[in-house]
């Protein structure tokens, strides 16, 4: 591989890193806290790309074992993720991935006995907003049933339910990147289910009675379902 080619390969990966991290696209792949590291890595690679491109060819082009100096042919593969972003429309993990995994049950609060959940945040436009993970944890472990009888607003995408009466409002929880994503979901009771992978805001009521101790998936009875564009950060942290 010539110095020029090495420089070009590194420029591809640097452009990918900078393109993703300087827009909101990186949020489809990794969590928000990674952004400064992606930008730094992109900048360092851009610098290495430039210095490599302009370096004079080394006097000895080959080591004794025939291993080409400066990088094996395989390094061309580094252009692949860059090309892929242009060919495939980037999308977050969705209903297909969710259906292939066992959903995650949020862990109980760390002090098991006598833990009191903080009060719900004040309602916005007439409903209490929270993440799916928070909603599921409260429905399972909040002995005071603070959510009972209150209008709740949840955001997620649609995964078809196993039986007819509604859909699964789903969100992926990631700790670092999409490869470690695990789904959480809430059963939404409604007569009208949007298509799989549609992003929706659901307002409705949770009642403790509707999810007995045996059922780990809480149920929200929908009052309204509004279709929304995919949020810029599709995952919960």
């Amino acid at each position: 591989m010539s110095n020029q080619n090495q420089g070009i390969v590194m420029a591809f990966i640097a452009m990918l890193m900078l393109r993703l991290s300087l827009t909101d696209e990186y949020l489809l792949f990794v969590k928000a806290a990674m952004r400064p590291w992606l930008i730094t890595a992109g900048a360092v690679l851009a610098l290495l790309a430039v210095t490599t491109f302009y370096r004079r060819p080394a006097a000895t082009a080959e080591h004794g074992d025939g291993h080409a100096h400066g990088g094996p042919r395989l390094a061309f593969l580094l252009a692949l993720p860059f090309a892929a972003v242009f060919v495939v429309t980037p999308a977050p993990l969705g209903a297909f991935a969710a259906a292939r995994q066992t959903p995650r049950t949020p862990p109980p609060p760390s002090q098991t006995a006598g833990y009191v959940y903080p009060a719900l945040l004040p309602p916005v436009n007439g409903a209490y907003e929270m993440g799916l993970t928070d909603f599921i944890a409260r429905s399972l472990y909040d002995d005071k049933h603070q959510m009972a009888g209150k209008p709740i607003r949840l955001t997620g995408f649609v995964t078809p339910a196993l039986n007819g009466s509604g859909f699964r409002l789903t969100r992926f929880v990631i700790s670092c990147c999409a490869a470690d994503g695990t789904p959480v979901y809430v059963d939404v009771r409604t007569i009208r289910s949007p298509a799989a992978d549609t992003w929706v805001v659901v307002e409705g009521m949770w009642s403790p009675a509707s999810s007995g101790a045996a059922a780990e998936t809480p149920v929200l009875t929908a009052k309204s379902i509004r279709v929304i564009p995919q949020p810029s950060d599709p995952y919960e942290g």
């Binding site: 591989m1 390969v9 590194m10 990966i13 990918l16 890193m17 489809l28 792949f29 990794v30 990674m34 590291w37 992606l38 730094t40 890595a41 360092v44 690679l45 610098l47 290495l48 210095t51 490599t52 080591h63 004794g64 074992d65 291993h67 100096h69 400066g70 990088g71 094996p72 042919r73 395989l74 390094a75 061309f76 593969l77 580094l78 692949l80 993720p81 892929a84 972003v85 495939v88 980037p90 977050p92 993990l93 969705g94 297909f96 991935a97 292939r100 995994q101 066992t102 049950t105 862990p107 760390s110 990631i174 700790s175 670092c176 990147c177 999409a178 490869a179 470690d180 695990t182 992978d197």
Partner: protein
């Protein structure tokens, strides 16, 4: 034509594959860059032979010292591979460099704190991870002192450094190491994404059962999923249908042997090396995790 290709490529399976592939590559990149920058700094600023002098003369003693030195490299496994390769190129004993390679991604403070956070109320999980990972790395190092041959790490040993100013040594070494590891990282990302899409995780979950089956499943899962060591504790915490000991196996195996990491090691040290080192590290990791899990968990 373009729209036909798009129609094919936008199917949900391909989309999921693509998202996982790009996310593994993108998320590993900052750690790989950190690794090659440190490697460049070693080449530019550490005189040849200084490393060999800094380590204890006795090779069996150098191994645990190198393992403990892993505490000083915060990051995940992608960064430690080029650094270990550079240490070998700079004359460090291979067994010590390899012990460092295995220990650093598993026992550094960032990973241990993440493990403690992922398992609230169970601090023994973080302690067990630290102990079992260090034990596994040292055991591999001591075995390598006895059976390892220099020609197995020939590719790393032969790596020469270009002359010139310190700046030029630094940038050329960092670029060299990046290109050697980078293509293999992409291969590893492709493999992990393919396995994740082909094998539904729910099938693996159904093997949770008891004892040996759960341990074997979690060990294989660690190799197949190729999750970064800073995130794997959160995934393990979510797999609550598995026993604590089998989840410890997952946490000890993952940073030492996974499809992306073996590919990286093949790139830096050569295939002959990777085909011997990965099985040795795998067996040692499982055995250490079982021993420490039986004792502590």
């Amino acid at each position: 034509m373009r729209s036909a290709i798009r129609g094919l490529l936008d199917g949900p399976a391909v989309q999921t594959w693509f998202t996982i592939f790009v996310s593994i590559t993108v998320q590993a990149m900052p750690f790989l860059v950190l690794g090659v920058v440190l490697s460049g700094a070693i080449a530019a600023f550490v005189p040849p032979g200084a490393l060999a002098r800094a380590l204890p003369k006795n090779r069996a003693l150098a191994v645990p010292v190198a393992g403990l030195a892993g505490v000083a490299l915060p990051g995940c496994e992608c960064g430690s591979v080029p650094i270990a390769g550079r240490l070998v190129a700079r004359g460090a004993p291979p067994a010590a460099a390899l012990t460092f390679l295995l220990a650093a991604p598993a026992i550094n403070p960032v990973v241990i704190v993440a493990t403690a956070v992922a398992f609230p109320g169970r601090p023994e999980m973080a302690v067990a991870r630290f102990g079992a990972s260090l034990l596994a790395a040292v055991v591999v190092g001591l075995i390598w002192v006895r059976i390892g041959r220099d020609e197995w790490v020939e590719r790393a040993r032969r790596t020469t450094t270009e002359g010139g100013s310190r700046w030029s040594i630094f940038t050329s070494t960092a670029a060299h190491d990046f290109l050697h590891a980078g293509g293999f990282l992409v291969v590893g990302g492709i493999t992990a994404a393919t396995l994740q899409v082909i094998i539904p995780r729910s099938v693996l979950d159904s093997l949770a059962g008891s004892g040996a089956v759960a341990v074997a499943t979690m060990a294989v899962l660690a190799v197949v999923l190729a999750i970064c060591s800073e995130a794997d504790a959160f995934v393990a915490a979510g797999l609550s249908q598995f026993s604590l000991t089998s989840r410890l196996v997952f946490l000890v195996v993952g940073p030492m042997v996974d499809v992306k990491l073996v590919s990286l090691q093949a790139g830096v040290f050569g295939r002959t090396f990777a085909s011997r080192f990965a099985p040795l590290a795998f067996v040692s990791a499982v055995a250490s995790a079982l021993l420490v899990g039986w004792w502590l968990l």
